[in-house]
């Protein structure tokens, strides 16, 4: 297929329906609304379910219901709306039903503003709801990745019967880039065998998140943990650039990661030995690769559009082997390549002087 100039939100919506989305439930919120708007037209054209719910709480519970019936389903929102969905995420996770949630993050906390932010890294990676689990979290940095990761999200959700989040920000949602959409897949003909489809002539399926006996709840938790272990082993994804001879590794995801790419290019033009690691999965975090890279670098510079959240995962992965510095902007402010370049130069100067090397 040829490349088209696509807005991130629209691209995610179109990719989702081409991946076989059968039912969408959502509630408008900037900077995500074009996603819902596109589906409101396209889903009806294709005779599929589009429903604008009365709230985010309702949307996620509708998703829970549709997912329990074995339907490919999703919702999308932005930070405050995602907060409202927390209870539903946890019930979904505790019910082993697959679904996709898109979070186009904006400035917070609170009502905050509508500009791009990565302030919800903790929220999406640490549990996205109460209880002991992690969703799988994919972090696109371009419109093309937004498309590819949306399709991947549905496949991973089905593969692991797990909640998968696509976590982007207002910049990815609002920007247009040339990108290629996937071909239209047919809607899945059969429901999974665990789905609630009516139990005539078969044993009934039960989907619940209630386990009153602690022994039973612990056993269920062990199942979740076993699955997360497999996911952690199989699904770490990242993009890497000029790391072979890098003394300093810049680490950023999504929008911050792509802006850091510009800064790394500028640093290389100045002859500085700098590379980039851009995590594409936030959970599981690409800790194995980062741990390897920690053996060959002198330090890390983490760049985020928040006060420093992913930096915790970086510290865990490098495990004290090298110093970890931070550059961040908050509240919907976007770091500029020049600012990151300055942070790169300062960090390198510190690292070299600490090692007694010429700068």
């Amino acid at each position: 297929m040829a490349k088209e100039l696509l807005k991130g939100n629209v691209a995610i919506a179109e990719a989702a329906l081409r991946a076989g989305l059968e039912a969408y439930f959502g509630y408008p919120i900037t900077p995500q609304t074009e996603l819902l708007e596109h589906l409101s037209r396209r889903m009806i054209q294709l005779n599929r379910v589009f429903l604008q719910a009365e709230s985010e709480v309702a949307s996620i519970n509708m998703v829970y219901g549709a997912a329990s019936a074995g339907v490919r389903t999703m919702t999308s929102s932005s930070s405050p709306g995602i907060s409202l969905m927390q209870e539903g995420f946890s019930y979904i996770a505790a019910s082993d039903v697959p679904c996709v949630v898109v979070d186009i993050m904006r400035g917070g906390p609170g009502l905050g503003n509508i500009q791009p932010s990565q302030g919800d890294y903790f929220q999406v990676t640490r549990s996205a709801g109460h209880g002991d689990y992690h969703p799988i979290v994919l972090a696109p940095a371009s419109v093309q990745e937004a498309i590819d990761f949306t399709v991947l999200a549905f496949d991973l959700a089905d593969k692991y019967r797990h909640l998968v989040m696509v976590a982007a920000d207002g910049q990815i949602g609002q920007m247009m880039e040339p990108a290629e959409l996937p071909p239209m897949r047919p809607i899945r003909a059969e429901r999974p065998e665990w789905a609630l489809t009516g139990a005539k002539d078969r044993e009934k399926n039960i989907i619940t998140s209630l386990f009153m006996q602690p022994e039973e709840e612990e056993a269920f938790n062990q199942q979740i943990q076993a699955r997360l272990k497999v996911i952690k082993k199989n699904e770490q994804r990242w993009y890497e650039y000029l790391t072979e001879d890098a003394d300093l590794l810049v680490i950023g995801f999504g929008t911050a990661g792509r802006i850091a790419y510009s800064a790394v290019e500028a640093a290389r033009e100045k002859g500085l030995k700098v590379g980039l690691l851009r995590p594409q999965t936030l959970w599981p975090f690409p800790e194995d690769r980062l741990s390897e890279l920690a053996d060959q670098i002198r330090g890390c510079l983490v760049v985020e559009m928040n006060a420093g959240q992913m930096i915790d995962d970086v510290r865990l992965a490098v495990s004290g082997q090298v110093p970890v510095s931070f550059y961040g902007r908050m509240g919907g402010m976007i770091p500029m390549p020049d600012d990151i370049l300055t942070a790169i130069e300062e960090t390198l100067t510190r690292l070299y002087s600490a090692a007694g090397l010429p700068i």
Binding site: L5, E177, P178, R258
Partner: protein, 184 residues
Amino acid sequence: MHQSFLLAGFGGQGVMFAGQLLAYAAMDEGLEVTWIPSYGPEMRGGTAHCYVVISDKKIGSPIVNNPDVVLAFNNPSFTKYEYLVATGGLLASNASLITQQSQRADITHLPVPATDIADEIGNLRLMNVIMLGAVVTAHGVLPLNSIKRALEGHLPAHRRDMLADNYTALERGAAFTSELFPVK
């Protein structure tokens, strides 16, 4: 080649669409491109802007501190963005509405009486395409024809009757620049 454009004006002046035409043209020329709007509580009469970055390499940031080219459609945009133009860059202004003069000696100035030209063609809303024709001609990275093709491909269905006028607008803008900077 890595060129950044900032287009700014009142909401309703066609800032976003002019930026998208640039983006479509760049894509059709096989270049990398990003387009990103200011978004949120903008409305007709308020101010709006968008950035377009065109490159022959992968684009990192779609937003820049100092754009190579600024297209200012109104006075507030001129005031706000004149000083941001990169050294050696191009500042194009809609001279029909912008009364200010830039004192910067390190950039090229392109004051285009775009609203007046649009009035001559018979539709004030062609101002944005006149500005684009003038800028593309002065800048030289994209051929004028690529904008023409972008108009043909992406003018919305309910504006198709304005295609011919848009071509005229593009050519009038280009002609203005050619007269201002005659090829030696």
